[in-house]
């Protein structure tokens, strides 16, 4: 009986405390607030959330940095470094940043990832570096400068692997259309596999009569089956609805030659133009030449000032 009284008293006190705390939002704020996640430095002014800041500032979880005439450089507590180009905007978190406008560069990314247009650019190694840019519409360009990145769509499906020196452009499609991949069809342990030339994604293919195309460079169209488990070497399981042989030779060189003749193909429903376009996980992917990868530095990081005398 006495114990119940004590419990009741404690419960009453707790409810009073909780009620008082709920009265004012500030009371529920821990004094030891979440620590800073890094610093931002710019040679000029930039916007930190909605405030104009000159020079430098401290970054917190969820801070938005927006550059104007000068680029900005972020040093994150994780060791990752991010540069934002001029006229760019990104929201920063301890483990990722969301590019909302313009262009950014990620260096020494190990545990930090880029997000843009619902795509995630996930570094695979600690020294991975890449540039990511929103290039108009829903398009995002990735140029891998070092290490390698995995690119995932909004549902977490792997849509591309990109190693150093690769430059890819992505355009999420409004509807989850068919999967389209191009590569040399091969067979391993009784399973048909195809590694897409653009995205470097390997899929296990399912269809009747695939054996006759084995060893040929082909373009397949099909539907990804998320309920089926692909073999170890593959990350997707695709049920093929159409297959088109792109060369007459079984060897890879013949395939590559055919690729060169592919010209500026245009995938249905996408505006990307390149020699080969893949559509995986509802995202159109094309390899790009030049673009971000060709740039020696981020625009806006340079100085146009003359030497003072």
């Amino acid at each position: 009986m006495r114990l119940h009284t004590v419990e009741a008293t404690v419960a009453a006190m707790m409810s009073v405390i909780l009620t008082l705390a709920a009265v004012d939002g500030s009371a529920t704020r821990a004094l030891a607030a979440a620590p800073a996640i890094g610093t931002v430095v710019a040679k000029g002014t930039f916007r930190l959330d909605r405030a104009t800041v000159t020079g430098n500032a401290t970054l917190f979880e969820g801070t938005t940095v927006e550059t104007a005439a000068a680029g900005a450089r972020m040093e994150l507590s994780s060791g990752a470094k991010v540069s934002l180009s001029i006229e760019s905007r990104a929201k920063f978190y301890g483990d990722h940043m969301v590019l909302e406008r313009g262009q950014g560069e990620l260096e020494k990314a190990a545990t930090v990832r880029f997000e843009a247009q619902g795509l995630t650019f996930q570094p695979e190694t600690g020294n991975a570096s890449a540039r990511v840019a929103l290039t108009g519409g829903a398009r995002v360009e990735l140029a891998v400068l070092g290490g390698s990145f995995r690119v995932l769509n909004a549902k977490g499906t792997l849509v591309a692997n990109a190693g150093a020196g690769r430059s890819l452009e992505f355009e999420p499609q409004s509807t989850q259309g068919p999967t389209k991949m191009t590569g040399t069809l091969r067979q391993a342990s009784g399973h048909f596999l195809l590694t897409d030339e653009t995205t470097k994604i390997t899929a296990e293919l399912a269809a009747s009569g695939l054996a006759k195309d084995e060893g040929y460079r082909v373009e397949i169209t099909g539907a990804q089956d998320p309920t089926a488990t692909p073999v170890t070497d593959a990350s997707q399981y695709v049920r093929v609805t159409a297959i088109k042989r792109l060369g007459n030779s079984r060897d890879a060189a013949g395939g590559a030659a055919a690729a060169g003749r592919g010209g500026a193909a245009t995938a249905g429903g996408t505006h990307l133009t390149a020699t080969t376009i893949a559509i995986i996980g509802g995202v159109a992917v094309a390899a790009t030449v030049g673009g971000l990868a060709a740039g020696g530095k981020l625009p806006g990081q340079g100085s146009s000032a003359t030497i003072s005398r």
């Binding site: 009265v23 004012d24 939002g25 500030s26 704020r29 004094l31 607030a33 800073a36 610093t39 430095v41 930190l48 959330d49 909605r50 405030a51 104009t52 800041v53 000159t54 020079g55 430098n56 500032a57 401290t58 917190f60 040093e75 470094k81 260096e107 020696g296 530095k297 990081q301 340079g302 100085s303 000032a305 003359t306 030497i307 003072s308 005398r309």
Partner: protein, 395 residues
């Protein structure tokens, strides 16, 4: 013709050659700088070896982040020891490499050279990140002193955010700032922006003595009304509106009923319709609401938030609709609508009995198109509005 000796000619020729060489070298350095690559900038440094350039070194630091410390060291040691920007960059680079002691020294050096906002702000940020409270407050206060009258309130938000993260209690936080009085409006703005109305109320009540703060306080009163915090809104309103104090328990619940002052369109004052087809005009003691006939079929023309005790009230008012008949006007309290106000070509008194309600409610003059009629066109003048307690016998 002045005869020039041969040795003198040689000296002049030498000087010209030297000048030409210097100009050439300088031009080549300029071209190299413009190319903006590590190699070209290094060439620029080489060409300018007799007069090394701060900008080139700092740009090299940008392009070679791993060597930025060396380039910045060269700037502050040999080129321009009074470059606060270079000291700041160096300090931040040291901090990024985990050299807190060196970073503090460099950033402190910047504050010695440059007694403006940026070095103080940078050092305050550094101490925040290092978790050194006392030093943080000292430099945050210094930064505020250097900026509070120069920066927009919203641009003080990053500094206030740091301070707020260290100390969330407004009184304790402001106690760290000698210039707290000047900081309060910005802090109030920050707290309102963060949605912390109770903390904002605390700060606002310290600002009531300053008449210039009235717009901030009225803005907060309005937000307190929107949040349903009647007592807090009333407290601010009475302190800052400049209108007669409201006292619901004593039956004083209507503001600006005599319309001597133009409606503020916020707080407990009148809010005039801002709709196509309605043209509200205020003149001292009177409102003239013109309806063009193209107004919405149902809309509010005039509104005031009232804080009611659980007592019976009656609204009395004088009105004149002019010669043209005006249909569809009624008073309402929230969803309770009174009878239609009859057209009258001369000043007439009418009334509306409010339903028995308690708390914050909207008293409105509304228009609704009468069934079977077109939208009304004309105007109504209103004056002398009184919201009085109704005696039991009277009701």
């Amino acid at each position: 013709m002045i005869a020039v000796s041969l040795p003198l000619r040689g000296v002049v020729a030498g000087l010209f050659s030297f000048a030409a060489f210097t100009a050439f070298r300088s031009g080549a350095a300029e071209i190299a700088f413009q190319q903006d690559t590590v190699a070209s900038l290094q060439k620029a440094v080489f060409l300018q070896s007799t007069s090394p350039n701060e900008m080139v070194e700092r740009r090299l630091g940008d392009l070679e982040p791993a060597q930025s410390g060396q380039h910045l060291e060269r700037v502050v040691r040999f080129i321009n020891p009074r470059s606060s920007a270079a000291w700041i960059e160096l300090g931040l680079a040291e901090e990024a490499h985990g050299n807190a002691e060196a970073a503090e020294s460099d950033l402190a050096q910047a504050t010695q050279i440059d007694r403006q906002f940026l070095p103080a702000w940078t050092l305050a940020n550094f101490y925040f990140r290092q978790g050194r409270g006392d030093a943080f407050w000292r430099w945050a206060a210094r930064a505020v002193d250097l900026s509070v009258d120069r920066l927009a309130y919203s641009d003080l938000a990053p500094l206030l955010q740091l301070a707020d993260r260290v100390e969330a209690d407004p009184d304790k936080m402001l106690a760290h700032f000698p210039s707290a009085v000047r900081l309060r409006p910005a802090y109030l703005n920050f707290l309102i922006g963060s949605g912390r109305l109770n903390a904002a109320q605390k700060v606002a009540l310290e600002m009531t003595a300053d008449r210039t703060s009235a717009p901030h306080l009225l803005d907060l009163a309005d937000r307190q009304i929107q949040a349903g915090n009647a007592a807090a809104a009333l407290e601010l309103w009475n302190a800052s509106s400049g209108l007669g104090p409201l006292d619901p328990s004593a039956g004083r619940v209507l503001s600006n009923g005599d319309l001597l002052r133009a409606p503020l369109n916020l707080g407990f004052d009148w809010r005039l319709a801002r709709l196509d087809g309605i043209d509200p005009r205020w003149r001292p003691s009177e409102l003239d609401l013109q309806l063009s006939g193209s107004q919405p079929e149902s809309c509010s023309l005039l509104e005031q938030t009232v804080f009611l005790p659980r007592k019976r009230f009656r609204l009395r008012f004088d009105y004149n609709t002019g010669a043209a008949p005006l249909r569809g006007l009624r008073w309402s309290l929230d969803d309770s609508v009174g009878r239609e106000i009859p057209s009258s070509g001369q000043w007439t008194e009418d009334s509306f009995d409010l339903p028995l309600l308690k708390g914050l409610h909207s008293l409105r003059l509304v228009y609704r198109r009468e069934p079977g009629t077109t939208r009304t066109e004309g105007h109504i003048e209103i004056r002398n509005l009184r919201l009085n307690l109704v005696d039991r016998g009277e009701s």
